[in-house]
C-alpha cells in the first residue's frame, strides 16, 4: 500500500478522536480574540457609574408592543422582521463603518419611535454590541416615555445646554448592552439646542463609547430639528408607513435628506393593533437603498 495513503488514513482516524477536545479549545481561543476587541475599555471606564433605568417591556420579549401582548403570531413575525433589519444594518456597518444612525419619518405617527426602540432591543441582544438609544425628539419624547420609571437626573436637553457632562446623561437599561439618553425637559426652542457644537461633540463622544447609536428624531418635514440632528449622524433610516405616508410628503422629505447618508427605508406594513397616537406595533419589511 502507498505509504502516503496509509499514513494519511491513520491520521484521519486519529483526527476523529481529537475533534471533540478541539471545539472547547477553539471556543477558548476565540474568546481571547473577542477580549482584545475595540471600544470596550473606554466604554467600561466611562459608563461604570451610569444610572439605571427600566424599560417598559413585556418580560421575556425583546420587543415592545404597547398593548402589552404576549407572544403571538404578530409579535413573532415582527421579531423576525427586526432581526432581518438588524442583519442588513450590521452588514452596512461592516462595509462602511457607520456608528450613529438617525431614524425618522416624513410626519409624526409613522412608527419611528417603536422601530428605533425595537431595532435597538434586537441589536443589543447580539454578543458584544453596545447600543445607545438617544431620544432627540425633544417635543414628543416618545422614547423617554417608554421607560418604566423616570429616574430623573440630566438628559439630552441638559447636555445640549451645557448643563451636564456627557457621561452623566447616559443611563444603563435593564438589558446588559443597551444604554439610553432621555430627552429631558423641553425648552422653549429646540432647534437652537442642536445648532451649537455640543450636539456634534456629544455624538462624537458617543461613537467612541458605543458600537451603534440609534437616534430617534422629530419628523423630517416642517421642523428644522431633523436636518440639524442628522448633520452629526453617519446614517439615516426613513420609516414609511403603509397606506399612510403620502407621496407628496415623501418627495418633500427626500429633498431634505442628505442622500449620501441614506442607509435605507423601513417599510411599516402589516397592521397589528393600533391604539393611540404613536403606539402600535407593526412588522417592518425593509427596502435597502441599493
Amino acid at each position: 500500500m502507498s505509504k502516503f495513503f496509509d499514513e494519511t488514513r491513520k491520521a484521519q482516524d486519529r483526527s476523529l478522536d481529537q475533534a471533540k477536545a478541539k471545539s472547547a479549545d477553539i471556543q477558548r481561543v476565540l474568546e481571547s480574540v473577542k477580549a482584545s476587541g475595540p471600544a470596550t475599555e473606554v466604554a467600561n471606564y466611562r459608563l461604570e457609574s451610569s444610572r439605571k433605568v427600566r424599560l417598559a417591556r413585556t418580560a421575556e420579549m425583546p420587543l415592545i408592543s404597547v398593548n402589552g401582548d404576549g407572544p403571538n403570531p404578530y409579535t413573532q413575525a415582527a421579531l423576525e422582521s427586526y432581526r432581518a433589519l438588524r442583519t442588513r444594518l450590521l452588514r452596512q456597518q461592516t462595509t462602511s463603518g457607520l456608528r450613529s444612525v438617525v431614524i425618522s419619518s416624513t410626519l409624526a405617527g409613522e412608527g419611528k419611535t417603536i422601530t428605533t426602540m425595537n431595532l435597538a432591543l434586537s441589536c443589543s441582544q447580539l454578543h458584544d454590541m453596545r447600543v445607545l438609544l438617544v431620544d432627540a425628539d425633544l417635543r414628543t419624547r416618545g422614547l423617554t416615555r417608554l421607560q418604566k420609571s423616570a429616574p430623573g437626573g440630566p438628559a439630552l436637553s441638559e447636555v445640549l445646554a451645557g448643563q451636564a457632562k456627557f457621561e452623566d446623561a447616559v443611563m444603563a437599561t435593564d438589558l446588559p448592552n443597551l444604554f439610553m439618553v432621555a430627552a429631558g425637559a423641553a425648552p422653549a426652542s429646540t432647534p437652537e439646542l442642536f445648532t451649537g457644537s455640543r450636539w456634534k461633540e456629544f455624538m462624537g463622544w458617543c461613537s467612541e463609547s458605543f458600537n451603534l447609536i440609534l437616534v430617534d428624531s422629530p419628523p423630517i418635514i416642517a421642523l428644522a430639528d431633523f436636518e440639524l440632528i442628522s448633520n452629526a449622524c453617519d446614517g439615516i433610516l426613513v420609516v414609511v408607513r403603509a397606506r399612510s405616508t403620502r407621496r407628496e410628503a415623501l418627495r418633500k422629505a427626500a429633498g431634505q435628506i442628505d442622500t449620501k447618508k441614506l442607509v435605507g427605508v423601513i417599510f411599516n406594513g402589516m397592521e397589528g393593533s393600533t391604539s393611540g397616537y404613536y403606539y402600535y406595533y407593526a412588522a417592518p419589511s425593509y427596502q435597502e437603498a441599493k
Binding site: Q12, S15, V29, S96, G97, D234, V240, A254, F267, Q287
Partner: protein, 316 residues
Amino acid sequence: MYLAFYELHEEPFRLTPDPRFLHLAEPHRGALTLLVQGVMLRKGFVMMTGPVGTGKTTLLHAALQILHEKSFSKVKLASAFLINPTLSRDEFLEALLQEFEIPCPSASKAQRLAALHQMLLETQRRGGTAVLLIDEAHLLSAELLEEIRLLSNADTYREKLLQIVLSGQPELAALVAKPELHALKQRIASRCVLRALSFPETRAYIAERLHAAGLRGASPFPAPTLEAIYRYTQGVPRLINLICEHCLEAGFTTERRLIGPDLVEDAAVALDLAGTAPVGPVKNTPNGQQPEARVPRSTVDILIEAMRQGRATAQE
C-alpha cells in the same frame, strides 16, 4: 519624552502584536477572528486582503501569537512565516523546511516533500496544527501559487494537514481569480477583507489607544483635530499612528497640552501626506468611497418605490 506631559504610561500609538495590548479597530477584530478560526478549524486556505497600511502584518503576528499562546496548551504549534515570497519553487521549499525547522540533508525535491509530509503527519498525530503564513502574497508568482496549492494536497479526508494563510494587497484577490488558478481559488475556505477606518471608527480607535496607554483625563485631541487627522490619513491605521505620534511629540516640544489642527497639518507636511489630502471639512459620511456607489438613484425614487411595493404587498 512626552509621556509625563500627557499623563500617559506608554506610547499610545506604538503597535504591539501582543493580544493583551492589541486594541484593534472594528474591522480588524472580525478579520482576526476569521484568521484564528480558519486555522483552528483546519479549513485549509484562508485569504486576507487589504490596502497598504491597514494592518495585515500586525494581524498575522497577532493571530500567530494567539495561536501559539492560547491554543493546544500541551502541543506545540508548528508554524512557518514567509515575509518575502519572491522565491523560486526550490527556494520556497527550502525556506519552508527552514521555517518549520525540519532537518533534511538531501536537496532532492522528493526527499524534501517527504520530510515535510512526515512533519505534518507527526504534528497532527500529537494533536497539533501546522500553519504556513505568507505575507505580501500578492507578490507570489502564479508558479509558486500552484506549488502552494499542491502542498495542500497533503490532506486527510476530514481536514487539512497544513493550514495556509495568504495575506496581501487587494491585487491578491485579482491574482487568485485568474482562470489558471481556478483550482486554488476553489480551495480558499474563508476570506477576510480589511478596509480603512471610517471617521467614527478613527475617533474610537484613537480614544481606545489613548485609554490603553493610561490617559484618564481629557483627550489631547479635540474634535477639529480629529477631523484633520481623518482628512490626512483617510482612516488608514498606519498613517493614524504616525500622525498622532508626530502630533504628541510636536505638542510636547511646543508645550501644548491640547493639540490643534495646525499641528496635524505640520505633521502631514513633515510626513509628506499633505498632497493626498482632499480639501474641505470632514463630512460625517462613513468611509468616503462607499456612499457614491451605494446610492445611485435619487431618494425620491427609493422612497416611492418602497411605498409602492409596500402597497402591493399590503393589498395581497
